[in-house]
Amino acid sequence: MPDNLLAVGLPGILAVTDTARRSTARRQPTRRNAELLMLIFAWGIGVLGTLQVGWAIGRDPDAGLWITSGVVGALALIMHGVVRLRAPYADPILLPAATLLTILGLVMIYRLDVAAARRAELNDNPLPTPDVYSQLTWFTVAVILFASVLILLRDHRVLQRYTYTLGLVGLILLVLPLAPVIGTTVNGATLWIRIGGFSFQPAEIAKILLTIFFAGYLVEKRDSLALVRTKVLGLGLPRLKDLGPLVVAWLVSLAVLIFQRDLGTSLLFFGLFVAMLYIATQRRSWLVIGGALFMGGAVLAYYMFGHVRLRVMVWLDPWTYATDEGYQIVQSLFGLANGGILGAGIGQGFPNLVPFASTDFIVAALGEEIGVTGLIALLLVYAILVERGLRAAIAVRDSFGQLLAAGLSITLGLQVFVIVGGVTRLIPLTGLTTPFLSYGGSSLIANWILIALLLRISDRARRPDSEVLSPDDALTQVVRRT
């Protein structure tokens, strides 16, 4: 009967290995409960901050405040639910960290609304419309888009197929504010488009689309960018032909600087491209070339454009210009100094004295009220976000996913560096939004889409092998022979 035994035994063995596989899959924790607890924690911090505003001005919390907090909590839970269903193995920290930042932004905007209302009362002016509700509306839109990205985009590699389309759309979005009729200039920078009653900053979305484009492009071209080179002075230099894309990126960012007068965006794009080139090719020479081009561009811009020169002069010596051009930065520094180590306490400082306190200078406003202690915690949350993104980049296996996750994290990190560095006078001030914190719909939406993409990639990276869906031969491209 050996034959018979084998026939019975073999399926039995197969079944055993099958269960063994499944149980290993079950042992891989998804960490969704940790994520939920962290989310509730973040929400609690936000509620305490909101209550603190009321306590500081001696007003009891009204029903509206509880409803608003409830809405924010519900939005966070919706996002958690979507992640649980659609990206169960995704990183547990990304969502709570971004939520905490968004909530702190809402608290600060609410706090500035309160200050503006009190001031209007004192001067017998009509009450200004509060910003916090429109920010909350934008947050709702952001949550809807966040959910759509996670639900509709099942695999980030799909994006690779639209590399050039998305790149083109990104470029168009970038220059759209220059278009007549819909383009709008605010405070000297042409960054906005206005359609109907809505104004939008298309560069924020362009940031993500161009990161996808860079990732797709570099995956395709990195071999020639990394391998073919001539040695000059002990440094391997790429062929002139391969330098093309870098030069194009440089010219585009210079064009943004010249025509839109937007220093921050220009810096962000060029830095992002150079960093991604470096990651893709692992060649230090790109950093050297990129750095040289940046220095060249910076010097050029300094001598050619008055507004750039002014920024640098104000940066070097704000006190000379304390009442005019340097007013913003000086007020920001006063605010931070007033905050000191422990901060004035939420609701107890004067952050409304800083111009643009809810947008460009929200870090200064927060810094005044939570002090350097709170600000460092805040920057650590950003650092953790970036670190989680880079970790997803390391863990994911396809090179497009790696570059995309790394690029998105770098965008986030670079943006925080440029704006926080500007507000604290480490580098010349450039107008960029602080991700998640700043008042403004485009920025909030774009950054939540960014988080959705990072979650998608990290879900793919951390998913146990046995659960990876059926082999995706449908994605194999057929070699065409002519």
């Binding site: 940790a34 924690f41 911090i45 305490l48 547990p92 391998l227 953790i384 296996r397 194999t476």
Partner: protein
Amino acid sequence: MSELALTLVRLGFLTLLWAFVLITVLVLRRDLKMPAEARPTGRQARQGRAPKPAKPPKATKQSKSKAKGTKLVVIEGPLTGTVIPLDDGQITIGRAPDSTLIIDDDYASSRHARVYPAEGSWIVEDLGSTNGTWIDRTRITTPTVLPLGAPLRVGRTTLQIQK
């Protein structure tokens, strides 16, 4: 609300903020071990990821024991430089995550080809891939002997058996 209470709330808020950061670090610390355990194959395949040209093969002392070659080396493509030691088991090549050599290439199939030992040499078999498995310039249709040093092409990747 009294001054004292406000100060306490203020400090409490900062404490909570820092607690959030510290708990995050705790969550992450528990998390650090997992990916390493979960995917040994991925690690192996990624070790040679740097798109640097393949280093000249080191003269190994044990190579004389087997005349048929001891390692499969990627000589072209994104994984250039990756070395897979050949022992007595079979090696699968493809995009599927359970392959021995995971190649991330749009032109490779999930289960593209396998290499296995038989009668003192290494045999390549195409596993019904979309774009075929090639030894030098010929597309293989049946299990074929892979001679030492012959270029084996899978998608955009070229492999070679070396001593």
